[in-house]
């Protein structure tokens, strides 16, 4: 009678099998600890041509486009989180978004997000505003009357390329679309007149924060507004320091001195709650490097040379 014939024998054998499986798991853990774990392969896009992918997807283009969209987000998120890893960059972002929108030309969010992500300067993004504009223009081919895309193009010109004339032109075109919101026309005018100052920027962002299109976009616009507030506050604080310096104050400059002198009531914090940094020697005020508002936008050139309002 072999082991297999007895029920107890069979149970024993099964138990033995279980032990072997546990051993396998243990060996796996050991391997991970001992040997160099596999480097995650660099993400590769095998098929880059939209026409080819469209054929491969047969009639499931929309679903394929969703998959590329998810990949685009993950690619962006992962690269952003690994800021220190220099080997990671945003090279696949445009191809992925391009594929996504070729498969589904009506994929609204891909165009709008794409524009923002692509324009963002490093290390937050690839800093490719030209590609962002190209993507938006592709969106316009599918939906020529989507004023949001026209506005977005204007915005990219304004903020990331500092080309105010072009920005104003695009805002104007957006305003001409039937059903466009009323504030595009004044925005175009204002941009032309004093483009590059915080006031028009504020107007722009307020407009975006009002658009109900997307929760994410709204939050992003609100954050930009807080950044502008921070810049305002920094300027204000710097003026206070200059005034104090004119009156003869010398280093070291600390917030405690200002508080003791009753100039300030407490340590000033930016809209996100991080205290501003005061340089002890020079007295210049900057936003805390740890602040979540960083990196602050670079101040665009002023069109008419007036100081920021």
């Amino acid at each position: 009678m072999t082991l297999l014939d007895r029920p107890a024998g069979r149970i024993a054998l099964l138990f033995g099998a279980l032990l072997l499986l546990a051993t396998a798991a243990g060996l796996q853990a050991m391997r991970d600890a001992r040997f160099q774990t596999d480097q995650p392969a660099r993400e590769v896009l095998y098929v880059q041509s939209p026409a080819a992918v469209s054929r491969l997807a047969l009639s499931y283009d929309a679903l394929a486009s969703d998959i590329y969209w998810i990949r685009a987000i993950q690619h962006f998120g992962r690269t952003r989180l690994n800021k220190d890893d220099a080997s990671d960059d945003y090279t696949l972002l445009f191809p992925l978004l391009d594929l996504c929108t070729s498969l589904d030309p009506y994929f609204n969010i891909a165009y709008r997000f794409g524009a923002i992500f692509l324009s963002e300067p490093p290390p937050g993004g690839p800093g490719q505003p030209e590609l962002a504009i190209r993507l938006l223009q592709k969106g316009l081919v599918a939906r020529p009357t989507k004023w949001e895309y026209l506005q977005d193009i204007g915005f990219v010109h304004y903020w990331f390329r500092q080309d105010y004339k072009a920005a104003a032109e695009w805002f104007d075109r957006a305003a001409k679309v039937p059903n466009a919101p009323w504030w595009l026309k004044p925005l175009a005018a204002h941009t032309l007149a004093s483009g590059g100052d915080r006031q028009s920027s504020r107007m722009l962002y307020r407009a975006l924060a009002q658009s109900d299109e997307n929760e994410f976009m709204k939050k992003d616009a609100q954050r930009r507004l807080r950044q502008l507030d921070a810049l305002d506050q920094v300027d204000q604080l710097n003026r206070i320091v200059s005034t104090v310096k004119e009156k003869g104050a010398v280093a070291p400059f600390t917030w405690e001195r200002f508080i003791r002198s009753h100039i300030l009531r407490r340590v000033p914090t930016d809209p996100d709650g991080f205290p501003y940094r005061l340089d002890e020697q020079t007295g210049s005020v900057t936003v805390n490097p740890a602040s979540s508002l960083n990196p602050l936008p670079t101040e665009p050139q002023r069109a008419s040379g007036t100081p920021p309002a």
Partner: protein, 268 residues
């Protein structure tokens, strides 16, 4: 006519016994599973992706059922010789072929209907749990009646594929039928490409040839309105009518071919 219906009902019952409808379980698992995972990954696009996935899965599962059951409808009966006793009854060969086709279409209709209901169920859940403010960001309502149009056209497309499968089933073995039917179904998606080839190709003879193939091959891609439905683009009643007519004409031709082949076949 009633004989055709009787055979059709029998086919339906057999499909139930063959556990065809278990694919619905897989469908449900897929839809619910993916929607649970989606949350973090899509930046607010859950509804669009669920609609895309639901419609795509309805189409794919339906296609598999149409092909794999379709090719066996007649050829399996002949191979196993259960057809001997059926044909000795007062049933013509024509009625047998048509009855089998109708039966499979019935099965597919039920399948697509249940999947559409399940899809609406998941969308209803999203509609219910998403705050009104976020809903404004949606391109279209979650419980969009336009989805029914897409489901209907999926069923119409399946009716053509089923007919192709039945034609092959009347004279070919199961394996070969599967390959040919699948091949035709895929080729039918590329009709648009055929038309575009004309601008690339130089030889006139080749252009005429390609144009001929374009008109002969069933243009299955024309039944695909998933993109339009999800993005709230119009799908007119006249388009639905055209698609139905196109499919009916094609199915009619295919079934006639099937009946003619089958009517003179020797069952060795």
């Amino acid at each position: 006519m009633t004989t055709i219906l009787r055979i059709a009902v029998q086919v339906f019952k057999e499909c139930v016994r063959d556990r065809v409808f278990y694919n619905l379980v897989l469908f449900a698992v897929l839809l619910i599973g993916v929607s649970l995972l989606l949350g973090q990954m899509t930046a607010g696009q859950e509804v669009k992706i669920i609609k895309d996935l639901g419609l795509a899965a309805t189409s794919v599962f339906g296609l598999f059922i149409a092909i794999f059951i379709g090719i066996g409808l007649v050829s399996k009966e002949v191979e196993r010789r259960s057809i001997y006793s059926v044909l000795a009854k007062p049933v013509t060969r024509t009625q047998l072929v048509l009855g089998k086709y109708v039966g499979l279409q019935l099965t597919l209709a039920v399948n697509v209907a249940i999947m559409t209901i399940a899809l609406y169920g998941v969308l209803a859940f999203y509609s219910w749990t998403t705050p009104a403010l976020a809903k404004q960001a949606w391109e279209g309502p979650a419980l969009d009646p336009a989805i029914l149009k897409a489901s209907y056209l999926i069923l119409v497309e399946l009716s053509v594929v089923t007919a192709i499968a039945v034609v092959f089933s009347t004279y070919s073995s199961a394996l070969l039928s599967a390959v040919f039917t699948f091949g035709l179904a895929v080729a039918g998606q590329f009709s648009a490409d055929l038309k575009n080839f004309e601008s690339i190709v130089d030889s006139r003879a080749l252009v005429w040839f390609l144009r001929g193939i374009y008109y002969v091959l069933p243009n299955l891609a024309s039944f695909d309105v998933k993109l339009q439905v999800v993005h709230q683009l119009p799908v007119t009643a006249s388009y639905l009518a055209w698609a139905t007519m196109y499919a009916a004409v094609y199915v009619g031709a295919l079934l006639i071919i099937a009946v003619v082949i089958f009517s003179k076949r020797d069952f060795k």
